[in-house]
Symmetry: C2
Subunit: 387 residues, 2 copies
């Protein structure tokens, strides 16, 4: 057998650019400002060890047996109370990424239109490409989605990251949240609200979620990856019970249920108060790192490079003058010892060449300034070539 | 919003019969011989507690961070050495069910043909229904697949459970394994070999896997659910590296990676020798329970009911005279205090009405005889109505 006959959809799964970027960015001596991963020093290792012992002691074999597809009851109840919904509105998933996949599986026929922000989270595009989604892009500014640019024709789904967006870090203000919800209600569009970073605010909690304003017409994706640890792969979807039922059917075929042991451990962590303390600990660290990075950007970036100061989350988004191509520049930057994520990775249409994403959370503080300086040098040269 | 516009494929995800059966079978006082779940008393709770502490101690935050989609290196290496393949041929999955889903995602276009045994594992049908598979059924007897009945036209995939099949418990003998592999090679058909029970033999280990006879043209699905614990959701696919690469691409979009913590715990369990001891412990228990159940069947079943003594695994398959409808009989059986799984659940075409599956592993020994007696009474009455 010389080759294998793959399904047609596999052609839509390939993403050679991202893979190549990841490979390049891992070179020795490169300071990576590219990662989308939490700071490992926030992980509550000892608390997870304790919660594991407690879970096995209290739950015994029930933490190790096949369990309900929707999730273990105490964890669903905890999530429901945390989010002000009923347990029947909660599906436990293997990270938010699985929530995105299941939503695609249950809602998207080939060619269905999904409204996404420009830029948007690339993992959602990867998840929905599998199902043949077509994307409509909604313009954004430093405060997120621009409601006046929302389309007249109704897409099937509208995907929004209102709080400390990935990649821009922007926070959608109250009046825009109202406008987006009003638009969705008027058009009969199902909102998909992705909120991995909402608990990571530096000063004030974000305005109320879109889901809470329109519970019958929204799906909300949450995760414990950013406030406990991503290696637990524990996320959730909040949706009307009828939709949860469909998503659970889809999940049963996909992997039966998420790890029971991990769910029991997370329920114990919640009871131990660890989730609340993690939120505070992570916020404090990320606030401090964001301030540092913003200081370095101010100190070193050449004129013409702009950014909006993030009020939470993990990222800052740099916009350069038109003509700079951050994708073409990437290999050169890596040679100069710094990695970032080029803007086009976050664009459903491959645009946004003159922008890039930096993280401030997973880069150690002793090399952060050096990383920003290296990047500033690379950008200065690029800007000089333009003029 | 009065209703939601689901994708067309959701119509293929519904399985009201199985859901209703599950609900009915959980009634108070019903002895369930229906379950497909391992005996919880085999779960190594203390060893998992120890392995968890070891994993966090040795791996630290690496057990809790985002990790490679293909799986943690030490676990891939352990699986590879266990199965006599290279680590590059191994993808760690969230249980075998996810392996089935990813295979469907990577190989099946709508309308593609998959050869399945009659009867076959219902979870595979659920997984592939999502992708619009059509099924060709291959006849079986008490020794599994009948090679002479294999089709002349090549299906896209051929799905086989050669060792202690679910639901029949049958073991495909050496000469039939050779014949199936020869057929697949001649037709250029990719084999999908599902082997959750191969390690649960009562006397002799099964003949060599199909995959080992044709590594370039086979995918092998393994799991730790039946020898450690299903609640860990740890399975794997073995395939050519080129296919593993495609499956990993698909998995990245589906859930990024399987739980890193659980993988580290499993790698520790392997190093502690727990997997080997679990195999022995589980075999011993299941062998004893199978003998008990076979004795009770001999004692109580009316004439006309036939079964093949399983040499491993978790199930025994009863064949009744034509005309008995185990699906129609199910509710009555539950009223009489016993549950089983009706044959049609395992049929891609809804046939096999005169057969049913019993488990001997997850029913406590003090009620096993009572359960078999109740079922025997129900079947006696049904047979009396026939004549």
């Amino acid at each position: 057998m010389d080759f294998y006959k793959y399904a047609k959809r596999t052609a839509r799964m390939e993403n050679p650019i991202i893979r190549q970027l990841l490979r390049l960015g891992q070179r020795q001596g490169v300071i990576s400002l590219a990662g989308g991963i939490p700071a490992a020093e926030t992980f509550p290792i000892e608390e997870i060890a304790e919660a594991s012992a407690r879970a096995l002691g209290r739950w015994g074999s029930r933490a190790l047996q096949y369990s309900p597809t929707e999730g273990l009851a105490p964890l669903r109840e905890y999530i429901a109370s945390r989010k002000g919904v009923e347990p029947e509105q909660v599906l436990v998933t293997s990270g938010s990424q699985q929530g995105l996949d299941l939503i695609g599986r249950v809602f998207l026929d080939e060619g269905d239109e999904v409204l996404v922000e420009s830029p948007t989270y690339m993992g959602a595009l990867q998840a929905w490409n599998v199902y043949g989604a077509r994307y409509l892009e909604a313009a954004t500014d430093g405060q997120g989605l621009l409601p006046e640019g929302l389309p007249r024709e109704a897409p099937k789904l509208a995907y929004v990251l209102p709080s400390f967006q990935n990649p821009t870090g922007s926070l959608l203000p109250e009046e825009r949240r109202r406008a987006v919800v009003a638009w969705a209600a008027a058009k009969g569009v199902l909102l998909v609200e992705d909120d991995p970073y909402g608990h990571l605010y530096f000063k004030d909690a974000p305005p109320a979620s879109l889901q809470s304003r329109r519970p019958e017409g929204a799906l909300y994706l949450g995760t414990f990856s950013k406030i406990v640890a991503p290696g637990l792969r524990m996320g959730y979807v909040i949706a009307p019970p009828q939709i949860i039922n469909r998503l659970a059917q889809a999940k049963q075929a996909a992997d039966l249920h998420s790890q029971a042991y991990g769910q029991a451990v997370l329920a114990e962590l919640a009871e131990m108060g660890v989730i609340a303390s993690q939120e505070k600990r992570t916020r404090d660290l990320y606030r401090a790192r964001a301030q540092k990075m913003l200081g370095y950007l101010n100190d070193h970036m050449p004129e013409g490079v702009r950014w909006v100061e993030p009020q939470g989350g993990m990222f800052v988004w740099l916009t350069l003058p038109p003509g700079v191509d951050t994708l073409a520049l990437f290999e050169h930057a890596v040679e100069r010892g710094v990695a970032y994520v080029p803007g086009p990775v976050f664009s459903a249409s491959g645009g946004l060449a003159n922008s890039l994403r930096l993280t401030f959370v997973s880069v150690s503080e002793d090399v952060m300034e050096e990383g920003v300086q290296r990047l500033a040098e690379v950008l200065k040269e690029a800007l000089a070539t333009l003029s």
